[in-house]
């Protein structure tokens, strides 16, 4: 893990020598905060960042560590085979989510920093909860799991807020601080400034043609960026990101110009693949990601814990498929989307069990649903040829529907 963070730092330094770059700035911060977990005396909290905003941690001077992301980073760094093998060796089911298998394997191999405190949520997903259960037994450190209900009424909010207060207490105890919720004011302010910039990003990407971004840049900005929610550095990252979007080519560009507009649903493969190269070849631009909008609930500087509870209950991961479809359709209209791309992580029960319903509804509205199945971490499940053929077919469908003659 340490080597992975060092490589991010090296990439960032080299890139930034050539001038400002939002992605490099973000990874520089990821590397810095990640390496801090390995410093002597560091107090490390294993947690989840997409389900519990990280603004909670920075004022305490602790280092938050998202073990699921740790697994993803290791997979991206080419360590999937050994970590997955270690998980298999321990006896964890081979057909469960590879992100959690990466987590279990990487932990067993000693890749992760130590844990002083475990803080997580019950939703989403089952695998994450079970990983936490295993780590609680193994480390014997204080463990706080926030039970996230399905309701959004005052009762549900009170229930979550009450649990968050206990988490806040645990952080105070770990760091010797007095209970004072106002310490969250600054990180909440930083997060809200980032939200404003994220809105600017979205406005720019709604333009037709949208600014060209290489790879799945928008997705990684949200996916990785949420680990830094509340950091002042993320404000600078997003300011730079906005500048880059303003300057990015609309007409022409490396994809020869925008022909089709795509909305990204689901995760992003961590290993080298031909997805984005193929999209580029056909002028298919990813102009929005569903994940981004799930990470954009404003927080209150006056009532931070209450608003963090609202943030958590606003998560799409706990919503019905019907609501998810409505959210997708809203983005389809706002961003003038031609196709929704679902990179379906094969073992994800939440994403896949009722995936067909999404396809059904979108197709009924004349929107192409690109279902590209594989595993997020395990490259052996990915076939570049099959993926290319599938994309070509979907592109053909979009071309035909646009010009039936």
């Amino acid at each position: 893990m340490r080597q992975i963070y060092e490589s991010y730092g090296k990439y960032a330094d080299e890139t930034l020598q050539r001038g400002p770059n939002a992605r490099a700035m973000m990874y520089r911060e990821i590397a810095r905060t990640g390496l801090a977990a390995f410093e002597p005396g560091a107090k490390v909290v294993w947690t989840t960042s997409y389900d519990l905003p990280m603004v909670l941690y920075w004022p305490f001077g602790v280092v938050p560590f998202n073990f699921e992301y740790g697994g993803l980073f290791l997979a991206a760094g080419g360590r999937a085979a050994e970590a997955l093998a270690a998980s298999n060796n321990l006896g964890y089911p081979v057909d469960s989510c590879s992100i959690h298998r990466m987590t279990m394997g990487a932990e067993e191999l000693g890749f992760f920093p130590h844990a002083d405190l475990l803080i997580s949520t019950t939703h989403f997903c089952d695998g994450k909860t079970k990983c936490n259960e295993v780590f609680r037994e193994k480390y014997g450190v204080p463990f706080h799991i926030i039970d996230t209900p399905l309701g959004e009424d005052e009762g549900a909010l009170d229930y979550v807020e009450g649990q968050l207060r206990k988490v806040f207490d645990a952080l105070c105890e770990l760091t010797g601080r007095q209970y004072d919720e106002s310490i969250l004011k600054e990180p909440v302010g930083n997060y809200n400034r980032v939200l404003t910039l994220m809105e600017e990003v979205n406005t720019l990407r709604k333009q037709k043609p949208a600014p060209y971004l290489s790879g799945n840049r928008g997705f990684s900005m949200t996916m990785v960026g949420n680990m830094l929610y509340g950091r002042p550095e993320l404000v600078s990252v997003y300011e730079q990101y906005v500048k880059e979007l303003i300057a990015a080519p609309r007409e022409g560009g490396p994809d020869g110009g925008e022909r089709f507009r795509l909305l990204w649903l689901g995760g992003n493969p961590t290993y080298p693949n031909n997805l984005f190269e193929t999209f580029r070849e056909f002028g298919a631009r990813i102009v929005a990601e569903v994940l981004t909008f799930d990470m954009m609930y404003p927080l209150s500087e006056e009532k931070p814990l209450r608003s963090i509870s609202e943030w958590m209950l606003n998560s799409r991961f706990r919503r019905s498929v019907r609501e998810l479809i409505d959210a997708i359709l809203k983005r389809v209209a706002e961003f003038q989307i031609d196709a929704v791309v679902s990179f379906s992580h094969l073992p994800c029960r939440t994403a896949n069990t009722a995936l067909y319903l999404i396809k059904e509804r979108l197709n009924a509205k004349g929107i192409v649903f690109m279902d590209l199945e594989a595993d997020l971490c395990d490259v052996t499940t990915f076939s570049p040829d099959k993926t290319r053929t599938a994309i070509e077919n979907y592109i053909q469908m979009m071309s035909t529907s646009r010009d039936p003659s």
């Binding site: 964890y92 469960s96 209900p149 069990t353």
Partner: protein, 363 residues
């Protein structure tokens, strides 16, 4: 106090997860029916539902499409696992003639969680009553609590009686009975259990006494064929630990105070399954049970794609190894397929248990 109807013609209401407070249905004049699809074999692909998910869910979905559960007024889903949560979505989309309800069920056991769940149960009760054009009265709820408690007590006593003399009732037979009782009105089921209990006195042995005493653990297991394989291999199943076994009948609901709080408290603090962040944990509770029934081995039947129980297995294996209790792990896809392969493994396990016990006796 109003008398709850106890007729076979009562309308039926479906449930899937053992965390469903069936007392609410009973109080509403409904017979709770467990959606058990253990007797069907999936023979065609269904494009509506993903292939790599819980085979129990896929089987129930298929059976519901075939109208195999008969007339049911609706179904309650508990957010017990990720797949079940999405199954609720699928049911709503494709089987909406039978209304689906979703009950948010905490995974933790704190007082706050119990209070939250109590409110959720109360709301569900009101909604169910409203949708059925009636008000579910508190007196009826108390009566239902008492009826379901009676059933729990009877089943617990049956397990205890059988434990003294397992030969009087093969476990496969008990399993068939339990499956039946899970879809009957609790008061009728109680009568049936009591008859079985009474019949055990002086009953001739139905199977030979074997040395291999095994506790059977799983997430859910409705394939009696798998259990029969064990019995044919000379294994006596002396206890169980799965959703529709004794665990389902653990702990009574207190019959004093606030009924909703009592229900919430019972369901969240009963013998837990792998979904719960419980104290004692599911694994600790299993270890206690193995000791209580004096099992000398454990067979764990893993349900394919059940992530929650899958993550328990390595820790179970470690704990049993520490205690020198042999454990056999086999996997099942909620069908009676692959029995030949299972037979070989179960027979080998039975032989190994026999040899170990012989070795201990020799010592």
């Amino acid at each position: 106090m109003a008398v709850v109807k106890e007729s076979e013609t009562d309308p039926k209401f479906g449930w899937l997860c053992s965390y469903t407070p069936i007392e609410i249905f009973v109080a509403g004049g409904l017979t709770p029916v467990r959606l058990d699809a253990g007797d069907i074999m999936l023979h065609r692909p269904n494009p509506d539902i993903h292939q790599l998910i819980c085979p129990y869910i896929r089987a129930v979905y298929e059976k519901a499409h075939q109208e195999g559960f008969g007339p049911i007024e609706g179904v309650v889903f508990v957010k017990c696992c990720d797949a079940m949560f999405r199954f609720y979505d699928l049911w709503n989309a494709h089987l909406s003639q039978q209304p689906a309800y979703l009950l948010p069920t905490p995974k933790i056991q704190s007082l706050e969680a119990i209070c939250y769940f109590a409110t959720a149960i109360k709301r569900f009760t009101e909604k169910l009553g409203q949708d059925r054009g009636m008000k579910i009265k508190q007196d009826d709820l108390w009566k239902a609590i008492s009826d379901v408690n009676s059933l729990r007590s009877s089943v617990q006593r049956l397990y205890q009686a059988r434990l003294k003399n397992p030969q009087v009732m093969p476990y496969s037979k008990l399993r068939i009975l339990i499956r039946k009782w899970l879809s009957m009105h609790p008061s009728h089921a109680s009568e049936d259990v009591e008859k079985e209990l009474a019949g055990l006195n002086g009953k001739p042995f139905e199977m030979p006494l074997t040395v291999a005493r095994v506790l059977l653990s799983s997430s859910t297991l409705d394939q009696v064929e798998v259990i029969r394989l064990m019995e044919e291999a000379g294994i006596t199943v002396v206890g169980d630990d799965y959703c529709s076994g004794l665990r389902h009948f653990d702990k009574l609901v207190s019959e004093e105070g606030d009924p909703y709080f009592n229900l919430a408290e019972r369901y969240l603090t009963r013998w837990p399954c792998a979904r719960m962040q419980a104290d004692p944990s599911h694994i600790q509770r299993l270890l206690q049970e193995v000791e209580a029934v004096e099992a000398n081995g454990v067979i764990y039947v893993g349900l394919k794609y059940c992530d929650q129980s899958g993550y328990d297995v390595p820790r179970m294996q470690t704990r049993f190894k520490e205690r020198q209790i042999p454990m056999l792990y086999i996997e099942n896809d909620y069908t009676a397929s692959g029995l030949g392969q299972l037979k070989v493994r179960i027979e080998a396990f039975s032989e190994m248990l026999g040899e170990e016990l012989q070795y201990e006796t020799d010592l």
